[in-house]
């Protein structure tokens, strides 16, 4: 396999798997922040320290495997084009911070893209595991396995009282951020989401849109994650989040049922109108595309549309981001040109299943 496929395919191979509750939970993610004892944290480290850290990882992973997981590919930020970095960000494989600000940043990426280890981001190491559907426990298991293997070879900064020491005090302790990406069109259409979000916030969890700026959630896709990392075990953090996600799944299912019962024809109309827009428009902005894709995905989940695969939402949400559009166009695009490209790309993609 050649590294360039990471920048070509919009759907990571793991996304093709159908996880549990995948009608609502699109993906589950675990991130562990770790640092090495002997080096300053990336916010203040010297260039030599940064290079030593990268070198130690190059040696560690010379077998292309970390324990029994692999093969991995090492991508150095200063060797990538900015569009390539942007594509990795749009696929959620690396953070915008690593892509834009970390001169000595690098990323170890597994072939299936379910494991990604960012090096020299805000912390020396950030282990990330992504699973399809609702599989937080499985993701934690894999992240732990990678963590255990790395720990055999490097000295972690660990404190008896404060646990894993991190650059930012919000990550200290477990260094764990668990999150799920959820598609919640039912709660949005019934306007329940406005009550749900504050209630979740009160439980010490964070809700935000996965795409879009600030509080808006393009495509009705929300990310829910833990905020507290200290004073709770990894298992408890995941368990607490799981409990809330279970309730959200129930509420979303009930909202969808209620919509079908009370306004079946209106809902079907909405789904098919959106399908019509996506299959026919010549110019489409990211906001309208996201809304229509959300409607079509809901239509697939409710059985109105049967010829289009479920992955269409995630795939086209990623594929129609500016980085991917420009990658396909082979160069920079002005916003209006992007909207034209986006429309033709969506038409082409949907045409396959006509």
């Amino acid at each position: 396999m050649n590294e360039y496929v990471f920048f070509q395919r919009a759907l990571s191979p793991w996304m093709n798997e159908e996880g549990p509750d995948s009608d609502i939970v699109l993906s589950s993610r675990i991130r562990l922040a770790r640092n090495m004892k002997q080096y300053s944290f990336p916010t203040v480290f010297t260039n030599e320290e940064a290079m030593q850290i990268i070198q130690s990882f190059e040696q560690l992973f010379s077998q292309r495997r970390l324990g029994h997981i692999g093969p991995f590919f090492l991508l150095k930020m200063n060797e990538l084009q900015s569009i390539e970095k942007r594509v990795l960000v749009e696929k959620h494989l690396i953070s915008p911070h690593l892509a834009e600000d970390c001169t000595f940043g690098a990323c170890l990426l597994s072939e299936q893209e379910e494991a990604s280890i960012m090096i020299n981001e805000e912390d020396h190491i950030r282990i990330q595991c992504l699973f399809a559907g609702f599989q937080l426990k499985e993701a934690l298991k894999m992240a732990n396995a990678l963590d255990d293997w790395i720990e055999q070879h490097v000295d972690y900064a660990f404190d008896e009282k404060y646990g894993y020491l991190t650059s930012c005090p919000t990550n200290v302790g477990t260094g764990l951020r668990a999150s799920v990406m959820m598609h919640l069109p039912g709660l949005v259409l019934t306007q329940q989401i406005n009550q749900v979000i504050p209630a979740i916030n009160q439980l010490g969890l964070v809700v935000r849109g996965t795409y879009g700026e600030g509080s808006e959630a393009l495509g009705n896709i929300f990310q829910i994650s833990n905020q507290i990392t200290l004073g709770k075990s990894e298992e408890d953090i995941v368990e607490d989040l799981t409990g809330v996600v279970r309730q959200l799944i129930e509420q979303e299912r009930m909202a969808r049922e209620a919509l079908v019962k009370t306004s079946n024809i209106q809902l079907e109309d909405r789904v098919y109108r959106s399908y019509g827009v996506l299959t026919n428009s010549r110019i489409i902005g990211s906001k309208e595309a996201a809304q229509c894709l959300s409607d079509v995905r809901l239509g697939i989940d409710l059985g109105y549309i049967t010829n289009v695969p479920k992955t269409i939402l995630t795939e086209l949400m990623i594929l129609t981001q500016p980085g991917f559009l420009q990658k396909y166009a082979g160069g920079a695009l002005r916003p209006q040109e992007r909207d034209v490209r986006r429309a033709s790309l969506i038409r082409e993609r949907l045409y396959q299943w006509k």
């Binding site: 963590d147 404060y162 646990g163």
Partner: protein
């Protein structure tokens, strides 16, 4: 978003200025924020708070500042030996510079962590196998040394000798593991 000071670089720092209850958003690039740094370092004077950074929290909440060091000079005394970060800098940027910072600023951390982590101040989760292993042995040695002192005080020298041998055994084990 472009920095509103230089109108050139992208704004990466976002501040909220509150004057008489009126909120104003300020967006700056790192460089301009640095140049204006003086202003943001004294939130109680300029009524500035840093929004998206932990520093916001640290600055807004007077109780999280160095409790017995109200003057500027005292804040500079507390400095990490390893990375040279001062407590004042830590409060300003909201990031530790290295693992030793945690040691240097230790006495000031519990109220900060309590605030950020829902009242928690101590780690409850995973312990790394290697580092955790020596941690466990070191704890054992500490306990045995205390026992040794007590036995000597009670003049139970025979038992004390046994305990001393145990300590030596554990210390050899610790050194063999690399002394970490």
């Amino acid at each position: 978003m472009i920095c509103q000071e230089c109108n050139q670089r992208p704004a990466t720092l976002h501040f909220t200025k509150i004057v008489n209850g009126e909120k104003t958003e300020i967006h700056l690039c790192e460089q301009c924020a640095h140049e204006k740094g003086e202003m943001f370092m004294f939130p109680h004077q300029g009524a500035f708070s840093i929004n998206n950074l932990i520093a916001g929290l640290l600055n807004m909440d007077a109780s999280l500042k160095e409790p017995k060091a109200p003057s500027f000079h005292n804040e500079h005394i507390l400095q990490c030996e390893h990375c040279k970060m001062t407590y004042a800098q830590f409060v300003k940027v909201g990031r530790f510079g290295c693992a030793s910072c945690y040691e240097t600023f230790r006495t000031y951390l519990p109220p900060i962590f309590r605030k950020l982590h829902g009242g928690h101040v101590a780690h409850e989760g995973k312990i790394p196998k290697r580092v955790g292993g020596t941690l466990y042995v070191r704890k054992q040695i500490g306990q045995l040394k205390q026992m040794l002192q007590e036995l000597i005080a009670k003049e139970q020298f025979e038992k004390a000798a046994e305990v001393r041998d145990q300590i030596r055994e554990l210390e050899t084990k610790l050194n063999a593991e690399g002394g970490a």
